[in-house]
Subunit: 314 residues, 2 copies
């Protein structure tokens, strides 16, 4: 199987993530067949995707809205969606029994050579594919929300996933405009949420100790660390931060970072007091009824940033 053969993609689960995925595949040129068990979500999907595509066209990220939309068919049954698919993206509720039931349905309806990626953000594929006939064709393909604006996708195989799937799906994801990575094992939180969690855990510990306001901790990232991380990862960043590269940097600074790690050997859960204080601080900056508008602002900022980054030399 070559990457080019993943021409028809089924979407199972037409919520926000599934709709974002449908847009990604249709924008990338695939024929998309979408299904959701909830008829209301099925009915809502095309309008929702049109709005997202129009926002992206406004930001210069998409050519023709109608052309992309024309590639999407909403189906009335799981079988209609999955039957002809080369690739299936499952994006149902993050509950193991729900994933198990839906994946059993996909397993029964799919072509044996199709590949099935789950949008699971935490549950490993081994927890809901063990008993399936085609279990070697299943893995996790975890996107960032929203998938049509943040391209990273974590491909996480179960122990029984056929390893030949990985380069195929990786190349196909690249072709659709995403940025796939391969995770070699079912570690809790995969890579992205572990990295985010490490930073968040430290941020909460500093905040709980009163060392800085939430706004100042945010600023440390948005006006400091995040500028480099928007176009270079942490390893390339330190590779360029010492004259002799990453080994030179490590020789100088590894002891400091180890000492910092040792100071957090006894991790406590995020404290209820700190959460209540942060909620109060955030609501003074952004009231609860503005959260949705601010999320729209975030999406517009992401679109503008993606547009900017695309124009830059790699």
């Amino acid at each position: 199987m070559t990457p080019q053969t993943l021409n028809t993609v089924a979407i199972v689960g037409a919520g926000l993530v599934g709709s974002g995925w449908a847009l990604v595949f249709a924008r990338g040129g695939a024929t998309v067949r979408a299904f959701d068990a909830d008829p209301a979500l099925r009915a809502r999907m095309p309008g929702r995707i049109r709005t997202m595509l129009e926002d992206m066209r406004g930001a210069g990220l998409v050519g023709s809205v109608d052309e992309a939309l024309a590639r999407i068919t909403v189906c009335d049954t799981l079988e209609e969606a999955v039957g002809p698919a080369d690739y299936v993206q499952e994006s149902v509720l993050e509950r193991v029994e729900v994933k198990q039931a839906v994946c059993a349905g996909i397993d029964a309806a799919m072509r044996p050579e199709a590949i099935v990626g789950s949008s699971s953000s935490g549950i490993p594929a081994s927890a809901f594919t063990a008993g399936l006939k085609n279990r070697a064709r299943f893995l996790v393909a975890h996107p960032v929300n929203p998938p049509h604006l943040v391209p990273l996708v974590e491909l996480v195989p179960a122990p029984w996933t056929d390893p030949e799937i990985l380069p195929v799906l990786r190349a196909a994801m690249e072709g659709w405009g995403q940025a796939p990575i391969v995770v070699n094992g079912e570690i809790e939180g995969f890579i992205l949420n572990r990295l985010q969690g490490a930073l968040l855990n430290e941020a909460w510990a500093l905040y709980e100790a009163g060392l800085a306001s939430a706004a100042d901790i945010d600023r440390t990232v948005s006006h400091g660390l995040g500028l480099r991380w928007a176009f270079m990862g942490p390893f390339e960043t330190i590779d360029l931060n010492a004259p002799g590269g990453i080994a030179d940097y490590s020789a100088r600074l590894a002891p400091l970072y180890h000492s910092i790690a040792l100071s957090r050997k006894d991790p406590r859960p995020w404290s209820a007091e700190a959460i209540a204080r942060a909620e109060k601080e955030r609501r003074e900056t952004l009231s609860a009824d503005q959260l949705e508008a601010r999320t729209d602002w975030r999406n517009r900022r992401l679109m503008a940033l993606v547009k900017h980054l695309r124009g830059q030399p790699g």
Copy 2:
């Protein structure tokens, strides 16, 4: 004292960081008086700053190069530089005995109402200002490298720093175009390097375990987490990642992040084997003789990103 009174700024230490600071203050409209004990560095400074300013003008970040340069005077003695200064930025070598000696010289030459910020990235102000006559006027003002491209500045007082200095210097830094934060205590690594260290420690642990390549871990940040962190901090990011805001997000996800923290209770130093492997992987992507050119690329990318971010609605 009001922020407006910080009109004359002395630079002590004219290396890369000191030169970047001189540019920041001159661009911000201050009169800058620079000194370095090394005559060769003093002689090199104006040309170095001119090159940086020309690069920034090329990126649309600076108007007149000559106007900014005209505000900078290189002085032959510490006294000439520091004597008339309202604010002194010390950027000498990161060694405690060097900082002690230089700060004693600044202490003897300064006006008693001046403020002295040290560029120290790790040594707290209490380690090199304890015996000074004007010790209440000293604190750490830690920039990110390069300070003229990444605006974050950490203001970290010693126990004896006059608290009235903090709002004054914070406002002045804002006026010069930087993004200051206040750290309420001399914690090791301050805020920025603790957040960077938390993420790096997790990245190294994942890499050491073979869970992903360094390139894929980098991609997780540069095509995932870093896109949001380029314009929002970690707290605002999670505030917008659950319908009910940060408290709602925490109720859903704090247990996962605590579980991740518990899996790293026994931190080990970055392993020599992993460092050697990462060095090899990086050098296959970027040979040692390309490091300097890639650093120039990084600076151009930072300039373009800063220019993009300035044009966006906050």
